[in-house]
Symmetry: C2
DNA sequence: TTGCTCTTAATGCAAACGCATAAACTTTGC
DNA sequence: GCAAAGTTTATGCGTTTGCATTAAGAGCAA
C-alpha cells in the first residue's frame, strides 16, 4: 500500500471513530421522544427536500436495506408522521412526504438535536477546523456542500 | 443558534453523509466473506489492541447495544474466531481475544478492505485534505491520532 | 463478617433487520 | 402491439437488535 493509501485509511478510521463517539453521545440523550435515531433520520431527510421523495431517493440517503426502509415507512405512516401517495408519472412509484404532525415532530426534535450537535462539535473544534471538516466531508459525500444535494455522475 | 453552531451542524451533517455514502459503497463489495461489517468491526478492534479486551472496552468502540454485542461475541466464539476467557482479577469480567483463525480472517478481509478504502478516499481528497481530515476527526473522536487510543477525561 | 450498593455481562422477549423473492409497473426491441 | 427485460416497492422468513431485567461478583461501610 502506498503512503497516501495509509493516510487515507488513517483518516477513514478517524472518521469512523468520531462518528461512533458522537452517535453514542447523542443516543444517550433524551431528545428523541418515541422515535429511534434512524426514524428521525428519515423524517429529517424528508424535511430537507422540497417536494415528495421516492422511496428509492430516500434509500440513497439512509443506511438501511430497501426492505427495512419500506417497512419503516409503513410504521411511520401508521403513526401519522408521513404520507404515502401514488406517483402519477410512475405506477410503481410511491411519493413520500411529511404530514403536519410529522413536520412538527421533526422540528421539535431537530431544534434540540441541533443544539446538542453544536455543543458537542464546537467543544472540540475551532471555527477553521469546522470549515475544513465541512468542506472535506461534503466532498467525500459526493455532494455540493451548499445545497446538500447529491451530485450524480458529474458531467466531464 | 449561533453562527458557529450552524457551521458545526453543517459539518456534522457532512460527516454523516460521507459516512453513509462510503459505508454503502463498501457494503456493496465482496470483501466480507461470511461476516457482516459489524462483525468485522469487532474483529478489527480486537486486532488493534495488544492484550485481551473486556467486553465493556469493546463496547466503547462499537456502535451496538451491550446485549447485542454480548450475543455477537457468543456467535463469534461459536464460529471459532474469538476466545472468551475469565478475567483473573475480576470474576464478573470476560477477556476477549482473537483466535488464530480469527486473526487470519481479520487480516485477509482487512487487506482487501484497506485497499478499497484507499481507493475510494484518495479518489476524492488530496494529500493535504487527508491530513486535515485525519487530524480533525481524531480530535472529534477524543483520541490521540497517532495511537488511536481513547483519551478519557483529560486532566485539567 | 454482614448487608448494602455499584458494576459487569447475560437472558427473555418483542421489535426491527437483511436476504431472497415476488408483485406491479415501465421500458425496450422487434 | 406485444413479449422480454429492467425497475421499483412489498412480502416471507430466519436472524439480529434493543429494552428491560436478572445473575453474579466487586467494593465499601458498619
Amino acid at each position: 500500500m502506498t503512503d497516501r493509501g495509509r493516510l487515507a485509511n488513517h483518516a477513514w478510521e478517524g472518521l469512523l471513530s468520531a462518528h461512533a463517539r458522537m452517535m453514542k453521545q447523542f443516543a444517550d440523550t433524551d431528545v428523541w421522544q418515541d422515535l429511534s435515531m434512524r426514524e428521525y433520520d428519515v423524517l429529517y431527510t424528508l424535511s430537507k427536500c422540497t417536494g415528495p421523495l421516492r422511496i428509492g431517493e430516500l434509500h440513497r440517503h439512509v443506511l438501511l436495506s430497501q426492505p427495512a426502509l419500506s417497512r419503516m415507512v409503513d410504521r411511520l405512516v401508521d403513526r401519522g408522521l408521513i404520507e404515502r401517495s401514488a406517483d402519477p408519472a410512475d405506477g410503481r412509484g410511491v411519493r413520500l412526504s411529511l404530514t403536519d404532525a410529522g413536520r412538527d415532530r421533526q422540528r421539535g426534535i431537530g431544534r434540540r438535536h441541533a443544539a446538542q450537535v453544536a455543543r458537542a462539535v464546537t467543544a472540540e473544534l475551532s471555527r477553521d477546523e469546522l470549515r475544513q471538516l465541512a468542506a472535506i466531508c461534503w466532498k467525500l459525500a459526493g455532494a455540493d456542500p451548499s445545497t446538500g444535494d447529491d451530485k450524480e455522475a458529474p458531467l466531464p
